[in-house]
């Protein structure tokens, strides 16, 4: 018998062998009868030193247990599953992580909404309105945005900000854009429908046929001036 191997076996018996070496030796130990017998004798030596008198010495218990388990199906935990178990992971932990992430996302959205809505109703949307108006009213203007914004009135068909209804400003604007753009390409009968009429008839807007037939201008993202 290889003395180095036996020395490793002795250290493994004491749980003093590095894990990588344990893996290799455990594989050999489970198959090598001589090695297993030596392993059993190491256990007996310890039992003798500890004066464990009521102890079987001939390995009959191991034989009986092995015989009793011979009819049992072998366990079939795959290595990945065993590794996950070894690391303490359970099936519910990934789900818990996903749930936590979703919870954080919901709280963040609610917080952002609570922070943004009160003050944003008359800040963000007017910028959008002014920009569209400026671009639409003077498409060839290349001057500073400040000048364009100052000289052009917000006579767009876009819904102006309504401070009394801050919650509806952004959705209403987008809805109005969609409805008017849709009307430009729809049948004449449908242009005069109730919703379009409501949109274009709000105070401060213009609904001249020439303008309403133009395609909806694209939003300029760099404008920051509010209409007066």
């Amino acid at each position: 018998m290889n003395e180095e191997l036996d020395s490793q076996l002795s250290a493994m018996f004491d749980n003093e062998l590095p894990a990588a070496e344990c893996e290799l030796l455990a594989r050999r130990l489970s198959r090598d009868a001589d090695l297993k017998a030596r392993w059993g004798r190491y256990a007996v030596v310890g039992a003798v030193i500890r004066a464990e008198r009521g102890v079987a010495l001939d390995g009959t218990m191991a034989g009986r247990v092995s015989a009793a388990l011979s009819t049992e199906p072998a366990l079939s935990l795959d290595p990945a599953q065993a590794s996950r178990r070894g690391s303490g992971l359970s099936w519910w932990q990934p789900l818990a992580g996903a749930g936590l992430a979703a919870g954080v996302a919901v709280v963040s959205i609610l917080w952002l909404r609570s922070q943004a809505l009160p003050g944003s109703s008359h800040v963000a949307v007017p910028v959008l309105v002014a920009t569209r108006t400026a671009t639409f009213a003077s498409p060839s203007a290349q001057g500073p945005l400040q000048t364009a914004s100052a000289t052009i009135t917000p006579d767009s068909f876009v819904v102006p900000p309504v401070q009394q209804r801050p919650m509806m400003v952004v959705p209403a604007t987008e809805l109005a854009d969609y409805v008017v753009a849709h009307s430009a390409f729809s049948w004449p009968v449908s242009r005069g429908n109730l919703l379009s009429s409501l949109m274009v008839s709000e105070p401060g807007t213009s609904s001249t046929p020439a303008e309403s037939e133009q395609p909806v201008p694209r939003v300029q993202g760099n404008a920051t001036q509010n209409p007066k």
Binding site: W39, L57, S66
Partner: protein
Amino acid sequence: MSADASDLSLVRRVQRGDKGAFDALVLKYQHKLVKLVMRYVRNPAEAEDIAQEAFIKAYRALPQFRGDSAFYTWLYRIAINTAKNAVVSRDRSPIEYNVDRSSTDNDESYDMQGRMKDSETPEGLVLTDEIRSTVNAAIDALPEDLRTAIVLRELEGLSYEEIAAAMGCPVGTVRSRIFRAREAIDRRLREVFEGGLGRTEELG
């Protein structure tokens, strides 16, 4: 180095279907388990039966073992529960024996001898006086450094690092001394049992 790496490597093999690895775990812990169970039952043969039942329960429960605790801790819990259930089912009162390592060996040996006289112990099942004297003689014949190392390990349960600190030598030297001590004792035991000691060829 994990304190439970050896057991865990065997447990993982069992979980992957290697029953032979479970034999190694039984061989390693059968004596300790019987000793533990004998705190609850009188008869060593009965204690063996309970320990055997505990091993079988442990095997069946191994798929649920995650390694959160040491294997032997988990196994001991199963053995204790099995022993308690056996005591309850047989309407016997548990007997508390003082088998703490801190107690003296002579007291423990005396108690165990007295108990064995009252029980029907199968011949050859337990450690006989002849075996005990053989092992004691083997230990006495060991060089001082080997004897100290093996006693600190087996009797006091110290780790290699703790033994190295106590003996003022490297951990590798401790490992070598313990191995050589075991081999020397094992040679004497094999002479007594004519090669029959630790006979496990029929396993795995």
